[in-house]
């Protein structure tokens, strides 16, 4: 099966070509969507086969490189079209093809009747191909091609509703920010290539060869520069500070796209890349610290912003940024396994959440459409009480929310708790650890709060749309709910493969599985870290308990604010009319609450959103653009159209050049 690894990206490519060329003629949605889904599902089957075979091999033999064809060979530069299958890429292809298949299936229902149905599936398949190239690439160049490819497809899919100006702008923003990141990636690649080549005559960009030569790399120095450049690339693709503002805007695309590209797969490419080159990153302690700090900062930053959003997809978008921050935090503290584990569980529950929100939007859209209402179907203030109308969506959504909030027994708990524990107990960052842990823990609390706020506002309480619209609220068709159920199932049980040792009920398969991949990195880490303080099990138990408590606090706040308070007055009014006035007092308390806790928090959130996002980040981007445009205008004016000026420029060039050389 391993020999056939090239089939994995080939299937979606065929699907993309087929739909791109013939889709317009076929017009039959079932055929178009069916073929696209079938293709990615075939890739999934091949991936399963490869995973099985890999499991059958002894741990140390689980690396396989398949050269499909020799690509660029010249002098000492060599890059093949090669695929690398190892435990890490095996997990990634399973996630990409598995979640990808479900989202393709879901899209058939969701995109029903959209103009350019074939275009959508063609892009989606193309995206899957690029993403598979990215994760399977045996050298940096193949990876880079995938890297560019996913950026391109993301651009095409964000701008899918090109009639909307905001969609076009969002697409451009995403593409430009991704290009900044790509630039960092290329510079990092060049730096590493040049340093290894000129100093040790190892001209290579092949991952296995770099791994073999990684012992030649120094600690810090040039590796810090190279890894920082790579990290810039990762921040662009994975929406970390400061290049994250494109991701919330990217919600202009269709919801399944948000689920696949902007939650489950593409945005995790940065994490994957760091994992793939862990043996290089770990040699640059300063970079590791930067990654950890940026990750933690992004986690809390995006979480606070998430509390101030009312658009259901924007909440999820900021949540994604925040969760990606957790993954980077894990990478930065050397807990590569935990980071990848969170990547996987996050793919399950966040895809489920996005698809669930898509289901809600779908239903809302239809309901509002029937009632000829022009309310925003994505605004949570228009929702409420949907649990009765959409039970399956509600249950899967709730399960995923519990998972992301970090309640024991659900997948998110295992991975997030592992990250927090590693942030606290890792031997890399000394005194910084407590801050990293604290930031992460507070971010987790915020996460629980805004996610349950989302659930309560959407599914509980009274329905806030008109009664007429309400009658048209229906559960989505099977083609939409099946993927939801599968993902919901995974959101609950997907975490059991990586259960912490402490709980001890199941062995931590996940860690064993990835051990050979990160062994080299761990080896390097041993040589410079201070003797890691040994923490007792009691402490670990304690912190685990604390993180559960934190999550519960977040949920409780959300409950009080969005469920309990509105319902308490209602009950009081019903049973004790005399106490009506007191209920109003209750409201005052609530407002005090608002004033003391929620408003500052919301204010901070919207300040950070409006102030930082819009002013600083966009300001920098716009500022650079303005300067370049000004320069462009200046240079343009030099091009005056007069032959004299052109001749003058030439003569001036000659005079300067000659003067420089003969008078030097």
């Amino acid at each position: 099966m391993l020999e056939y690894v090239w089939l994995i990206p080939l299937f979606p490519l065929l699907g993309a070509v087929f739909n791109g060329l013939l889709g317009k003629k076929i017009k039959n949605e079932a055929v178009i969507g069916g073929i696209a889904t079938l293709m990615i599902f075939c890739s999934f089957l091949v991936s399963c086969g490869i995973l099985m075979q890999l499991i059958g091999l002894p741990a140390e033999e689980r690396v396989f490189e398949k050269v499909v064809f020799p690509w660029i060979h010249s002098g000492n530069f060599k890059a093949d079209m090669a695929f690398l299958v190892d435990p890490l890429s095996a997990i990634m292809i399973m996630v990409v093809t598995g979640v990808g298949s479900l989202i393709h299936l879901y899209s058939i229902g969701y995109m029903h009747g959209e103009e350019g149905f074939y275009r959508y599936f063609s892009y989606l398949n193309l995206f899957a191909m690029s993403m598979l190239l990215l994760v399977l690439g045996g050298n940096m160049l193949v990876m880079f091609i995938g890297w560019e490819g996913v950026g391109l497809c993301s651009y095409l899919l964000i701008g899918y509703y090109f009639h909307k100006k905001s969609a076009g702008d969002a697409a451009k923003k995403a593409f430009v920010m991704n290009r900044v990141g790509d630039f960092g990636f290329l510079i990092g690649l060049f730096t590493l290539y040049w340093w290894l080549g000129s100093n040790h005559n190892v001209w290579t960009i092949n991952f296995t060869e770099i791994k073999a030569a990684s012992s030649l790399l120094p600690y810090g120095g040039v590796v810090t520069i190279a890894t920082l450049c790579f990290f810039v690339g990762a921040t662009g693709k994975s929406a970390q500070i400061p290049l994250y503002t494109w991701l919330p805007d990217a919600m202009e695309g269709p919801t399944p796209v948000s689920a696949l590209i902007h939650a489950a797969t593409m945005v995790t490419a940065g994490v994957y890349m760091i994992g793939r080159m862990s043996f290089v990153f770990v040699k640059a302690p300063d970079t590791m610290m930067v990654i950890a700090i940026v990750g933690a900062a992004t986690a809390i930053f995006a979480a606070t912003i998430g509390t101030a959003q009312n658009d259901i997809k924007r909440v999820l978008a900021y949540s994604t940024v925040s969760q990606l921050g957790f993954m980077f935090l894990a990478m930065g503290v050397g807990a590569f396994t935990a980071g990848v584990f969170h990547l996987m569980t996050h793919a399950f529950f966040k895809a489920c959440l996005f698809l669930g929100s898509g289901s809600v939007i779908h239903a809302m859209h239809h309901a509002l459409h029937h009632a000829h209402s022009h309310d925003d179907p994505q605004d949570m203030r228009n929702m409420g009480g949907l649990r009765k109308a959409m039970p399956i969506t509600f249950i899967t959504f709730l399960v995923s929310t519990i998972a992301i909030a970090g309640i024991p027994g659900f997948s998110g708990f295992f991975s997030k708790d592992e990250i927090l524990w590693q942030a606290f107990a890792n031997p890399f960052h000394g005194g910084l650890n407590i801050f990293l842990w604290g930031t992460g823990a507070i971010a987790a609390c915020f996460t629980a709060f805004y996610m349950f706020r989302l659930v309560f506002m959407t599914f509980f309480g009274e329905c806030r749309i008109t009664a007429k619209s309400k009658d048209h609220l229906h559960e989505s068709p099977l083609v939409i709910t099946i993927p939801l159920m599968v993902l919901g199932f995974l959101a609950v049980f997907g975490g059991y493969v990586g259960m912490p040792k402490l709980l001890g009920m199941l062995p931590n398969y996940f860690e064993h599985w990835l051990e050979p991949v990160f062994a080299t990195a761990q080896g390097y880490a041993q040589t410079y870290v201070h003797a890691g303080a040994h923490h007792s099990h009691a402490l670990e138990w304690g912190l685990m308990g604390l993180s559960v408590v934190i999550a519960v606090i977040g949920i409780a706040i959300a409950y009080i604010l969005y469920i309990a308070s509105p319902s308490i007055p209602a009950r009081f009014t019903a049973t004790f009319p005399a106490l009506h006035r007191a209920v109003y007092n209750k409201w005052y308390i609530d407002e005090l609450y608002d004033f003391l806790f929620i408003n500052p928090c919301k204010a901070l959130g919207s300040f950070l959103w409006k102030g930082f996002d819009v002013l600083v980040i966009d300001g920098i981007v716009d500022g650079v653009a303005k300067v370049v445009m000004g320069l462009s205008g200046m240079l343009k004016n030099l091009q005056s159209g007069y032959v004299h000026n052109y001749a003058l420029s030439m003569a001036l060039g000659v005079v300067v050049i000659i003067a420089f050389y003969i008078f030097r």
């Binding site: 004299h644 003058l648 003569a651 005079v655 003969i662």
Partner: protein, 169 residues
């Protein structure tokens, strides 16, 4: 004596060169240019290249300049009115003077500049064989290919001139 003669011719060449640039009327410029060409022909004779002097007069002063004067007449060009963009004149002159300074600076280094491999061409050979034959010989042996390319070049020029300027094609 020869140097004195050289100085006079050089002076005439430079002054008439300046007149090419200075004259407002294109015809006057063209006539000054012809004077410069004759001065250069004189130099060629002094440099023992009589054949080059001859074709300098025939081709340059004769053919090319006649063509130019003819076009000037055809287009009935008048004196230039004052330049609309005087900065071009100032800056252009400054740049030209800078070029001049650079050139004089590095040529005034004396003979040291000239280091190239020498050949067998000297007064004796030229007088014995004849300059025209020497040129002809090397053109048909050593420089046969460039000579043939010239024919293509002239072909392109003829076709081009016809395409661009003929009334009806």
């Amino acid at each position: 004596m020869e140097t004195f003669f050289f100085a006079i011719v050089a002076l005439v060449a430079i002054v008439s060169g300046m007149l090419v640039v200075k004259c407002r009327n294109p015809i006057n410029s063209a006539l000054s240019l012809i004077v410069t060409f004759f001065c250069l022909a004189t130099f060629y004779v002094m440099l023992e290249a009589p054949f080059m002097a001859a074709i300098q007069v025939i081709v340059y002063a004769g053919a090319i300049m006649v063509l130019i004067v003819f076009v000037i007449m055809l287009l009935n060009l008048r004196t230039e009115t004052g330049s609309r963009y005087t900065h071009a004149v100032t800056v252009g002159t400054i740049i030209g003077v800078l070029t001049l300074i650079e050139i004089v600076y590095f040529f005034s280094g004396g003979r040291s500049g000239l280091t190239g491999a020498t050949g067998g061409l000297n007064t004796e050979t030229i007088e014995r064989v004849g300059h025209t034959e020497l040129i002809g010989r090397s053109m048909f042996t050593d420089f046969l290919l460039p000579f043939e390319i010239t024919s293509l070049l002239l072909l392109v020029a003829i076709v081009g001139a016809v395409v661009l300027a003929k009334k009806k094609i």
